[in-house]
Symmetry: none
Subunit: 207 residues, 4 copies
DNA sequence: GATGAATGAGCTTTCATTCAT
DNA sequence: TATGAATGAAAGCTCATTCAT
């Protein structure tokens, strides 16, 4: 392989990756605005200025586009959660920040959140092992935050797993409510989130 | 109208109601498993063994099927919740029973619950005023329980609405997790529910 | 057959005929307003207050309803044309009245006119022999009017048939234009009709 | 863009145009025979051997197919009419030639004519402005011929518009009769046309 | 690699018609 | 005789996907 060839190859690869990213960007935006079912391959193609058929050179099918977006999204959440779990400072406060981050992430990426965490019961298990793995890793950060609290003697409960799951339930609940029940007359969003976090933190704090 | 006629009519009405219920059952199951958008009238018809057109003898359109399922759900839930809000005894304990009841309802009727409370964003959107009204009436029971706590001076927070919404978020979260994440290694269900309720109640109790 | 029986039979027949007429009246109105294709059996049934199935006790199918209406309509036109052809007075004036009557009839019953006279080339010959016969009888009245003109020496042309057909073409043309090109900016209708008739009559008058 | 590309593109474009024309031909024939409402996209697709969806690659919807047929028709007719309206010679004779031309066009292209001028009332209704414009331009040639007659003092009537519309009615009538009533015992076609034209011209000539 | 025309299955909905009651 | 629930076919149209170029 001479260098001229490899340079040409590199350029080609770069162009290919660019189009792939344009497709992802277009799809991400459309899915978020209109929902997976309502977005057609043609709409994605039109938005990123290529032909419908071209999409199939980069993704096997429509589902794979969604999977790629979810993987991306998940990676960001995982990174943010991990970063917080390594913060210094009061463990319970770290837990509060962690919950806040999780909720904010869900509210900021509602459709991705739904896709990743909101699958219906008995749904066709089209989530790859990678997705499942990523989900577990996110939860792991939360579990570690709870563990720290217990080690610092700040927990009213003995079972770390139980508390971590209860906290996940709480944060998941507020995210789901906010993004799926947009029509409900919620109190101001930040206030509701802070109250919920406060309730949860005080509910587990050792007395 | 002679008795033969009314007997024949009654029989026909019964058969009609039966098919209506079969349609509702099929739709509820499919909506819950695959999401509203992914379920076609044809799929519903096939599942309940009738022709697609027959559905339209019982429901105006697809939206009306969803509405009927929601109405059904709210009717059951409202009945369960209303009974508790009139219980006597310690207000915070009543609130705990109320939350337990809500969670139990979701766990007992996962399909009703997921269709009514867990639909993806943007999907049904245009729920009728009647649906909205019914949903608000259910929430009202919870709000009243919280109100009692505050009037008894047992609340750490000033804003009743805020607390009621935070509690709804918590109970919604645990239900959704349990029915949509069946594969997750949750701790024993009753224990998780009780821990979550305990966290929530202690989190709002006046100190 | 005793008299009680025949009385009962008579009553039954009368009721049956009444419903048949109500169906025809409803269909006539709906066809005229919305066109044959856009009117459903259900709409007709609803308008005359009976069940869809009931219609089939009186008419074989939807086409037969239309045929019945056309037959009715044709009978009226035939009668009107025949009456005029027997008028006394100037033959050319009689011809003018005859044309005016024909045009007015078409304008007053646009859909029936279209159905009877406006069938497309190669269309399925679903017109019964009776319809064809009725059409020929209508034309016969016109032919007789033209014949009178010739016998009175008022015709510029020798061939009665030729003139009769040319006149039919003219009157048919104005009716079709007025009822199928409603969007065209025609001059005031009566004026257009009179001008056309005047052109035709003066065009055939002996000099 | 190299020549290989443009050659491939040209070929593809040609094939596409061919199919478009096949669709138009199929639709024209079916619309003329069965009427706009009775013809389905599927029937058109079947007749021209393509899938129903393919039609939508060439036409936005069913209405647009009708519009395209009308446009085609008007283009041909307009060209024929315009040529005559610029002829020199006696204005009334020019008018006769114009009418003859119009009638001949209808007889030569019965399907084009019936679809464009003979659609049932209420069927297409919402013809686009473009369609309307094209139709008016065709009529304009006739109007101009009539105008010349008047300017030459050869008209018995004062209102040019009135006469133009009456003449249109006459020529439309003979065309429609000839192409839709093929079973009627008409006199020899040329003779009938000439008699009708003669009647019309003499009917408007100043005395 | 990219195109875009074409497909075939699918959609929601409406319809003429049938038939058990 | 009349009912009206049910059917099966069809409507216009959209879609994910394929494939010759």
């Amino acid at each position: 392989m001479n260098s001229v060839h490899s340079m040409a190859t590199a350029r080609r690869d770069r162009l290919k990756a660019e189009l792939r990213n344009e497709i992802l960007a277009a799809a991400r935006d459309l899915f978020a605005r209109q929902g997976y079912e309502s977005v057609s391959i043609r709409k994605i193609a039109e938005k990123c200025g290529c032909a419908p058929g071209t999409i199939y050179l980069h993704f096997e099918d429509k589902d794979q586009i969604l999977s790629a977006i979810c993987a991306e999204t998940f990676a960001i959440l995982k990174q943010r959660m991990a970063a917080i779990s390594k913060d210094s400072g009061d463990p319970l406060e770290r837990l509060r920040r962690s919950g806040r981050q999780y909720i904010q992430f869900g509210v900021d990426h509602p459709y991705h959140y739904i896709v990743t965490f909101g699958v219906a019961p008995g749904a066709p298990a089209n989530k790859s092992d990678a997705d499942h793995q990523a989900g577990m890793e996110c939860f792991q950060s939360l579990r570690e935050c709870v563990q720290s609290c217990q080690q610092a003697g700040q927990l009213r409960f003995a079972d770390v797993e139980e508390v971590a799951q209860a906290l996940w339930a709480t944060t998941h609940g507020i995210v789901m409510l906010l993004i799926t029940k947009a029509g409900f007359p919620f109190v101001e969003q930040t206030r509701l989130i802070e109250t919920t976090l406060d309730m949860a933190i005080e509910g587990i704090r050792a007395r």
